[in-house]
């Protein structure tokens, strides 16, 4: 007769079920949020130019701590004396030091020296105690030159529990790391309410250090805002901002200031690389965009970004089983694929519509059917295979030629006959011809969506923070302001590029051909080059998103 069968059978039935239950953050009833059996490990590495420090914390829940007491209470008198705790801590830390393996690539594992070992007990549930072992380790290591480090822990992994690892640089810059810089649990003091997002199981890390300055405090903002001094300044602004939003009394001036800061933050966020925003500028330049196009992109980015942050921010509490990072990765992937698709489409149309770009040619002197060598340099895209007379392709013609659109070869042939009095435009910058309206709008909006799809973590933090403070509406307003800031920067960048390009084109026409020859050749490659660039960036974004973190 098996007494445990009921329990196990209950489990067996649950394996049958795929519940569609929406999972919510819940209050844990037990004292130890991860359960009374758990043994939890946190490993924190700090990299210095001349040494590596490590802190290993082992948090044992009530029953696990009681189990361990046999090993602590050496005289079995049911009480743990200070010397007993010390002996245990030193012995355990020595063992843990052997199980924390750090190798500087192409070297042998480092041997840790113990610099501190303490065992403390803390009140837990039902008058029982939890235990906390704190081991400080250090080892000499020369990290003044760029080095790659591999970290592996082989702690006792039989028991269920949390395994986290963090790494930060102090006096050296951690340029590549697959573990966070800061402990999300405050070194196993506060566990997340929802263990489905975890329990975290981080047992290995790959790190790269380079000379420079790592700063643990700004590490979070660096990962949000990018690295470098700009990132650090932004980090300071962000934290000031967070404290503003979090202030207890929300007065009108404070609120306005917060909104203004949100705009600034959004604007500066858009300046930083990432999310493929930069490609939009290239796109605008390549597609001969107008100021209106720049505005379209900006508006789309704002709308998409705001919607993305709102959806993610409001959906996260409902879907906590999806780790935030995973969602961001998926969005990053979607964004990358979108950009790739746009790149492909651009390339496709660039290759297909080449005649599109030269039929409207209207250079200063009308040279019907001319194949004058003088104009060769001006040809935008010479369709060598067309057999038609090569014509210069300075953009500058908006006529529809009496209802016959320039796409057809007919318009080319009839052009001068229909419009004999066509104004010459030798000196004035010619208005830009537009690629087919519908397709352009679609592409621009797609580009805007790609740019705004991945919500910036800082905006998300702002929203969630405001929600947590019970100021959801204000949070939404802030995110909107943030998106507007982003859009402003992007639009501005787009406008600048459009202006710059126009200037270059004017110069090209007014200055001697030889001076601008390289640029002109570049310009000739325009659509193909930019669409290839977009494609490459899209593939890059997709690849970056695909490698995680999942």
């Amino acid at each position: 007769m098996n007494l445990t069968l009921c329990r196990v059978l209950t489990g067996a039935v649950t394996t049958l079920l795929l519940s569609s239950a929406a999972l919510a953050t819940a209050q844990a009833a037990a004292a130890h949020p991860l359960g009374n059996f758990t043994v939890n490990y946190a490993t924190g590495l700090t990299l210095h130019p001349e040494r590596i420090d490590a802190v290993v914390v082992v948090d044992r829940a009530e029953i696990a701590a009681a189990q361990e007491n046999r090993l602590v209470d050496l005289d079995h008198n049911n009480s743990i004396s200070a010397p007993e705790a010390r002996t245990y801590a030193h012995r355990s830390c020595a063992q843990l030091a052997g199980q924390l393996q750090v190798t500087i690539v192409d070297g042998s594992p480092l041997t840790w020296n113990r610099s501190g070992a303490t065992l403390t007990h803390h009140p837990g549930e039902a008058g029982l105690k939890t235990s906390r072992l704190h081991c400080a380790l250090t080892v000499k290591a020369d990290l003044r030159a760029p080095s790659d480090l591999k970290v592996r822990t082989t702690y006792d992994s039989r028991r269920i529990g949390w395994r986290e690892m963090t790494a930060r640089g102090q006096g050296v810059a951690l340029t590549d790391s697959d573990v966070p810089a800061r402990s999300v649990t405050d070194q196993l003091r506060r566990y997340p309410q929802d263990p489905l997002a975890a329990p975290l199981d981080q047992r290995t890390a790959t790190l790269r250090v380079e000379p420079g300055h790592g700063n643990a405090a700004s590490a979070v903002y660096e990962s949000v805002a990018g690295t470098g001094p700009l990132g650090r300044v932004l980090g300071k602004v962000s934290s000031a901002f967070d404290s503003l939003v979090g202030s207890r009394e929300l007065t009108v001036p404070v609120g306005l200031l917060a909104l203004l800061l949100a705009v600034v933050l959004g604007a500066s966020h858009a300046v930083l690389p990432g999310h493929g925003k930069t490609i939009m500028a290239a796109y605008l330049a390549g597609r001969r965009g107008t100021p209106r196009d720049a505005l379209t992109v900006g508006a789309t980015v704002t709308v998409t970004h705001t919607a993305g942050v709102l959806v993610l921010g409001l959906a996260l509490p409902l879907a906590t089983h999806l780790a935030g990072e995973t969602v961001l990765t998926w969005l990053g992937l979607a964004s990358g694929l979108l950009v790739t698709a746009i790149g492909l489409w651009l390339l496709h149309s660039a290759l297909l519509n080449r005649p599109l770009h030269h039929h409207h040619h209207h250079h200063g002197h009308a040279h019907p059917h001319s194949d004058h060598p003088h104009h060769r340099d001006d040809r935008h895209l010479d369709d060598a295979g067309s057999g038609r007379p090569a014509v210069a392709t300075t953009p500058g013609h908006r006529h529809t030629h009496g209802g016959v659109h320039g796409d057809s070869p007919v318009s080319l042939l009839t052009r001068d006959g229909v419009h004999p009095a066509h104004p010459h435009q030798d000196t004035a910058p010619a208005p830009l011809p537009r690629p087919p309206e519908k397709a352009t709008r679609g592409g621009l909006i797609g580009m805007g969506i790609a740019g705004g799809l991945v919500p910036s973590p800082s905006a998300l933090v702002v929203l969630l923070g405001a929600v947590a403070l019970g100021r959801t509406a204000f949070g939404v307003l802030l995110v909107l302001a943030y998106g507007l800031g982003m859009a402003a920067t992007l639009t501005l960048a787009g406008l600048l590029l459009v202006r710059l390009r126009d200037r270059i084109e004017i110069d090209m026409r007014t200055a001697s051909a030889t001076r601008w020859a390289p640029l002109k050749r570049l310009a000739r490659l325009g659509p193909i080059a930019t669409s290839t660039l977009v494609l490459i960036v899209g593939i890059g974004l997709t690849a970056r998103a695909a490698v995680g973190p999942w």
């Binding site: 007769m1 009921c6 196990v8 209950t10 037990a30 009374n36 059996f37 079995h76």
Partner: protein
């Protein structure tokens, strides 16, 4: 649902609260005909040993979706633990008809195990093993094939089943416990202690602790046994603080190694919410240890009413008969216990031999 599984995997009550709030959320979003959440709530309450509300949820779930095997599974489990065996057998029948998979066949096996038909139980558990695809299901089947073998005094087969299971799942604590018991029954005490220790390192469940403690005690290692008992007492404190009804292992531990009067109180409360045969047995043993033999006999009889092949239950009843002066009945039950499994318990089995010999000598 994942929470319920996690709670089961770790036998850790802390996860139940989270599971409950997730399921309640689902039920709030869709209060009617949400059979998945209703089944989940039933499974959750059953895991918490609140079988009355488990039954209510299971009834709702089977009403929402009469063709859900999982809902019938929870229904069957709840009926079983509430002592309504006929209803539970019907629910298992329905579940097996709907989908003869590893879960339903394992329950079908259990219905025969309860009624003492070990051969049929073994056959159905073998079918469950064949139908199983997930490692958890095969481990489960191997564990119970091993335990069924142990309950027929066949430690060799038990050892083989446990080892087959452990090859696929070396970290399965239930399989480790089954192998520990097989080793103990074969007299390999050191390996038994090793396996128990390994199982406890993975999950310090009360019945592993009790098994190891009593094994060590039988070896004269009182101090080592005391370490397991200390942990059992800590778990009992947590249980009492949470207000949950006591489990069978806790009652038996309290009766044998603690205060029998307290064990009676625990058993009384447990039996009120869960009049299952194993609880009746524990209640009987607690009453016997507290000196209330006549009441004890009534519960002991109830524990064996289905004809369950349990050496421990028979031993318990034998000791009660003995205390009431009915040596013949005591001898019958002692012989039965030792026929079923001569090594059923590290402390009680030797005592059964001694008592039987003494009874025969004094006749």
């Amino acid at each position: 649902m994942a929470y319920v599984q996690q709670a089961r995997a770790t036998a850790d009550p802390a996860t139940y609260a989270r599971a409950q709030s997730a399921l309640q959320k689902s039920l709030k979003l869709q209060p009617a005909d949400n059979y998945q959440a209703q089944t989940g709530m039933g499974a959750l309450q059953a895991a918490r040993h609140d079988f009355t509300s488990a039954l209510n949820w299971a009834k709702k779930a089977t009403a929402s979706n009469p063709s859900s095997p999982a809902a019938h599974g929870v229904l069957a489990d709840a009926y079983t633990q509430l002592g309504q065996y006929e209803a539970s057998f019907r629910a298992v029948q329905r579940m097996t008809d709907l989908r003869p998979d590893a879960a339903s066949l394992a329950r079908a096996s259990y219905t025969w195990e309860l009624r003492g038909e070990t051969a049929r139980a073994r056959e159905l558990m073998t079918r469950s093993l064949k139908a199983a695809s997930a490692t958890a299901d095969t481990s489960f089947a191997h564990t119970h094939l091993a335990l069924l073998a142990l309950e027929t005094g066949d430690p060799t087969t038990a050892l083989r089943e446990a080892e087959t299971g452990l090859r696929a799942a070396p970290r399965d604590s239930a399989l480790l416990e089954a192998r520990a018991r097989a080793h103990a029954a074969s007299g390999n005490m050191r390996q038994a202690v090793d396996d128990y220790t390994a199982a406890i390192a993975i999950a310090p469940l009360p019945h592993y602790l009790l098994g190891l403690g009593e094994l060590q005690q039988s070896q004269g290692r009182r101090e080592q046994a005391e370490a397991q008992y200390e942990l059992l007492r800590a778990q009992e404190r947590l249980r009492a603080a949470s207000g949950a009804p006591a489990d069978v292992d806790a009652i038996l531990f309290e009766a044998d190694h603690g205060r029998p009067l307290r064990a009676v109180a625990m058993a009384e409360a447990a039996c009120r919410t869960r009049p299952f045969i194993a609880v009746h047995d524990a209640y009987a043993w607690a009453l016997h240890k507290a000196g209330r033999h006549a009441q004890a006999l009534a519960h002991a009889n109830q524990s064996l009413a289905l004809g369950t092949r349990s050496a421990l239950f028979h031993y318990h009843r034998a000791k009660i008969h003995q205390a009431l002066g009915d040596t013949n009945a005591a001898n019958r039950d002692l012989k039965r216990a030792l026929t079923i499994d001569p090594h059923f318990h590290p402390l009680h089995a030797p005592d059964a031999h001694t008592t039987l010999r003494r009874n025969d000598a004094t006749r």
